[in-house]
Each structure stands twice: as C-alpha cells, then as structure tokens.
Amino acid sequence: MYRSNVLVCGGTGCTSSHSLLIAEKLKEELAARGLEKEVNVITTGCFGLCALGPIMVVYPEGSFYSMVKVEDVPEIVEEHLLKGRIVTRLLYQETVEEDTIKSLNHTTFYEKQHRVALRNCGVIDPEKIDDYIANDGYAALGKVLTEMSREEVIQTMLDSGLRGRGGAGFPTGLKWKFAAANDADQKYVCCNADEGDPGAFMDRSVLEGDPHVVLEAMAIAGYAIGASKGYIYVRAEYPIAVKRLQIAIDQAHEYGLLGEDIFGTGFNFDIALRLGAGAFVCGEETALMTSIEGKRGEPRPRPPFPAVKGLYQKPTTLNNVETYANIPQIILKGADWFASMGTEKSKGTKVFALGGKINNTGLVEVPMGTTLRTIVEEIGGGIPNGKKFKAAQTGGPSGGCIPAEHLDVPIDYDNLIAIGSMMGSGGLIVMDEDNCMVDIAKFFLEFTVDESCGKCTPCRIGTKRLLEMLDKITTGQGTLEMLDEMEELCNYIKANSLCGLGQTAPNPVLSTLRYFKDEYIAHVVDHKCPAGVCKDLLKYVIDKNVCFGCGLCAKRCPVNAITVTDYTAPGKKKPAYEIDSEKCIKCGACFEACKFKAIYKG
C-alpha cells in the first residue's frame, strides 16, 4: 500500500514539455531515498489545464504543482514526499491563499466544470485496467449484458437525449435503433477518433487518459445493435493515443472483457485499431469507413446511410470518442441523471478545447447551456494583456465566429446553429482586437482547400474560387460586388457539396460576412486592415514628434529600411527616424522594439 500518489500528466501537451522525464527523475529520486515502496508515481491522462503544464499533483494532500521542471524534482521529493513540507513556491499560485492551500476543485478553472466524459482523465493510470475498473469501469458493460435487453439499452440512450459529440449532433439512441433494426449476418461498431479540426484535442485526451471507456462503450453499442466486431479509426499522428489504446485492448482481452463469451453471457465482441493518415475528410463517416476498408478515403452519397449499408456494406453504427465516453455513465447512473444536465434539446455536458487569445488554454467540460462568457471570462481566465474580446470561433473549419454581442447565448447545438456557427467537435478559439476576421476566414478556407478530397466539384473548385476572392480582398484588390458574389458562391457550395466537409466549408466566410461586414468593407473600400494583420494593407509609420531618436528600431530592422532624418522635434535631443515603405517588409520588429510607442500602424 502506497502512502502517497504522485500523478504526472502524460497527455500530449505535458509530454511535449518533458513530463515523462519528470516522472523518470521522480522514480530515480524516490529510489535514492528508499521511498519507492511508499510513494507511487503514476502517469495519467490530461488534467485539462494545459497552459500550466507540465502538471504534477500529489495526493493525499492534493497539491497542484504547475510548470514543473526536471530540476525541481529533487526539492519536491526531499521536502514534500520525505518531510511533508509542501513546496509552496512551485504550486499553481491560484491554489495558494495566505496560510492555507485551496483544493484544485475550487480554482476558477475547475469550479464551474462538470466532468463526465473527462472524469477519469488525470485521475487513473490509463495503462492500468485495474485503475479503470476501480472507478466503476466495465460495470456498465456487466450491467447491460446481465440485466438489460437490447431494446432497453437503446431506450436508455434515447431517453438520455445524448447527441453525437462529433459535431452534427444526431441522437445516438436513434442511430443505434436504426442499426439494430436491420438484420444482417455481420454488423459493425466504429469509433471516429479521426479528430481533425484545428484547435480541437478532446478526443485525443480521452483516448490518452481513459482509453478503456471507449472500448467499454463500443462493446455496449455492439450488444445493442447486434454487432460482434468494432473498429477504432484513429489518426496515426496521435502516437500516445494509439499506444494506450493498443495496451487497453490487450488488457481487456487478458481479462476477458473483450473476446468471446463476455461475462459468461455468450456475447462476443472484439475491437481492432485502424490508423488514419490524417486526411480531414476521413472524419466524415462514409469516407472513414471507405478508408477502413483499405480504399482511398473519399465520401459517398447518402442514402444508403451507414445503419443500412456501412462498413463492408453491412449495417454499421459510428460514434465519436466523446460520445462513447458518456455512455457507461449513462448506463450506470440512468438516463434521467444525464437528461437532468444541459438544455431542453441538448443534454449532458460538452468538452471544449480552449485556445487562441485566452489565459487558461486547455480542456474544459461544462454542462450544455453554459454561456460563452462563463467559459471565456471565468473558466478561461479572460484574454491576456488586457485586450478586448472580439469573437470566438467554434467548430473549426466547419463552424463560424461568434461576436461579442452573443457572449451570453447559452451554448448548445441549436443555439449555435441559430447564430451561424456550429458545435463541431468543440474547438473554441478566442480572438481579440488584434485578429483580422477576413484573415481568419482565409485561414480556415486555406485549410479546407487543402483538405478537400476533390471528389465533387462544388467543394473542389468552389472553395478554391472562394479563397482566391479572399486573397484579393486581403491584398487590397477586392470590390464591393465581390462580397455579394462570395456570399452567393458560399450558399452554392453549401447546397451542392457531397459531404459535410464541403457543406460546411463556407461557414467561416458566411459568419464573418454576417457579423464583421464592416471589416470586409474596410479592406475593400478603404484598403485598410483595421486589426493591422493583412500585410499588404499595412504601413508602419514613425511619429517624428514622439521619436526620441534612440535608433533601436533601425538596429532591429532586418532589411535596413529605417534611417535617421534631419528633423529634431521640439524638446528632443536627437533627430527622429523614418521608415522607407518601399523597403519595409512589414515584419513588425520595429513596432515591438520601440519603447516610446512612436511607431504606429497606418
């Protein structure tokens, strides 16, 4: 029995800042002091507060160490683990109050969260099946197989109101019901772990932090629809997730929780991994299944829907990772419990990946219906450097921008669509006054142009033409007519594309046109970029009456575009400098360097 548990985050974020080295060093230091049998070092999944990584939490005290360095480890071992003196200096400072130390759960980042899908992330060791079982793991599968009929399982899912967390929000119970209704000699259960939205990483965190929950939920789905085989389609660029999934599958086999005659009920279910090469379109369900079959990942028209003809032309149900992560809890705690959270049409919680101009970058899980303001200002800790909120982008390349006027809208599937965005997988990128909305639209469109598979014309050529127009606007060659033309093209692409990729690709353009038309007009009519982002419309100017003539800007300029003039402002001792706009490459180095704010964007 260990007296102390040290949890070190082994999610991708913390791993990239060397958390695994920290865990190694910990074990080394503990062994050197003969503490290895008293103190347990556990590598867990993501804690969510990625901005503060690498993260280390010591129980039973619950001390939350943030931004830990390898050099800090000896001190933590010597002081805290040996002598019981918490190293306050290294704690997450929000948990430190004068004399006492606050629980992590009472910090503003965690207090408003409600963790269902992420409940085991940062708590259990994802590579130990016993840890998962200790936290009620596989109990839902046991209950389903021994106490519930297939119909009861599907009815529970319908009653819970769970909707697909991958973005479109289709009711999960209905999906299962359709697949269950089709008779076939073989059916399949698939898991969409091809998380592709720029800025979204909740599926990765579930796979890395709690892989067994996905396996358990897939087996439950298998029982409900009558399938004996499952595939997890995960992108190869998530190596930690792939590794932990494989370990989890092997362990579940060893315990007989996958395989034949599970719990002695005669139910057989097995899961295999399929690695995706990282094409965005493979997150679309028909393309995903085509890719599993070993063919080129391209979508096909629906109907027939996967519930009728899916993988290998057999009835298939396909759900997203986060959707699965909710299911065992729904079975154990009941549909009513789940339906008690959220809004009328969107039940439960949703995980958001907070990114962009926000203090607490990371993963947050909140009940549906939480306002954007709560997420951004409270949990997210607001915007750095006292800048003003301009918009939040949800849903990645399929979603749109939500302006400040809609900060108080309760977030759920339907409200987001009503204000021109969508839930998507839950990426939430915060933008401040320094972001140009035309540039943002262009960024996402560049992504979809790259990722369009090319099978259908509206998407392949339409998005390309749209990008060309945006290019013209950001370089000062746009016209007002172009804005109308763009809108028309957007609606055409939406209406005529084959799959979800094309049908949603114009959303970033449409939503910015809707809420930030003035910025488009500034680009087109005044040839100005109000946020100072679009380089072709930008000019750096030195205010000669403010310039002290220190010459720092000239030293920093990489192209020698700044020279001294013969003008000395009244009250100044040295002559002012000026920028040759012909030579200037608009890198902004002088702007950053000037201590007197004498340089402005014109």
Partner: protein, 123 residues
C-alpha cells in the same frame, strides 16, 4: 471475465489505491509529523503503519493519511494528530508502529480516544 463477481473482486482490490487520489473534504485526517525531528524519531514506519492499517480495514474512502511538518514539540516525536470532522483534534506522542492498530480501532473506528498515548497523558 466470466462473472460480475470477478469484476467486483478486481474493483475492490484496486479501489483503495484509487481512493488516495481523490479529495475528500469530509474524511477523517491522520497527520504524521515528518520533519527532520519526526523522521529521526521513527515517523516513517509509523506513517506506513497507518497507511497499511487504514487499507486493511477498507477505510480509504473515509480516512486520509497525510504527512505534515514539525509542529514544534520535537522531544515528543513521532507526533500524530487525528482530526475527525466535528470532533476536537487529538495529538498522540511518541507513537510507535505497534500502537497504530489500537489507535485506528479505538479512535478512528469507535471514536474512543486512546488517552494514555496522548500528549495530555505524558505531561
């Protein structure tokens, strides 16, 4: 896995260790002084004895065993403080591992303070 009972057995075995990783504000707390003075006087075996005893009696979800620094009565180390919610804090002194099962049984489980081990008895 052939039965729910098998799953339950694994769960019971693994749960005690997992309970240590959760915050439980209502739990009784056993604080063992582990500063230099405490360690020198033999606080580590005492701390481990508490951990083992609590696990053995399946009390991990209602009792946390934690270390603390020096409370300033170094001559009486190893010092152990027990805080049960709603009751006064009790300080045991010169605690040895052999005394631990009785403290757990009498005080933590049955709420009878083992008076002869407390700081009051010594003075």
């Amino acid at each position: 896995m052939k039965s729910l009972a098998e799953l339950q057995a694994i769960r019971d075995r693994a749960k005690a260790q997992l309970d240590l990783r959760k915050e439980n504000p209502n739990a009784a707390r056993v604080l063992v002084g582990m500063a230099t003075c405490g360690i020198a006087a033999g606080a580590r075996p005492v701390l481990n004895a508490f951990t083992e005893e609590i696990a053995k009696r399946s009390l991990t979800d209602s009792v946390t065993v934690t270390q603390t620094g020096c409370i300033g009565i170094c001559q009486y180390e190893p010092v152990v403080e027990i805080e049960i919610p709603g009751q006064e804090k009790v300080t045991y002194v010169k605690v040895a591992p052999e005394m631990v099962p009785r403290i757990v049984n009498d005080h933590i489980v049955h709420h009878n303070v083992v008076t002869e081990y407390t700081i009051g008895a010594l003075k």
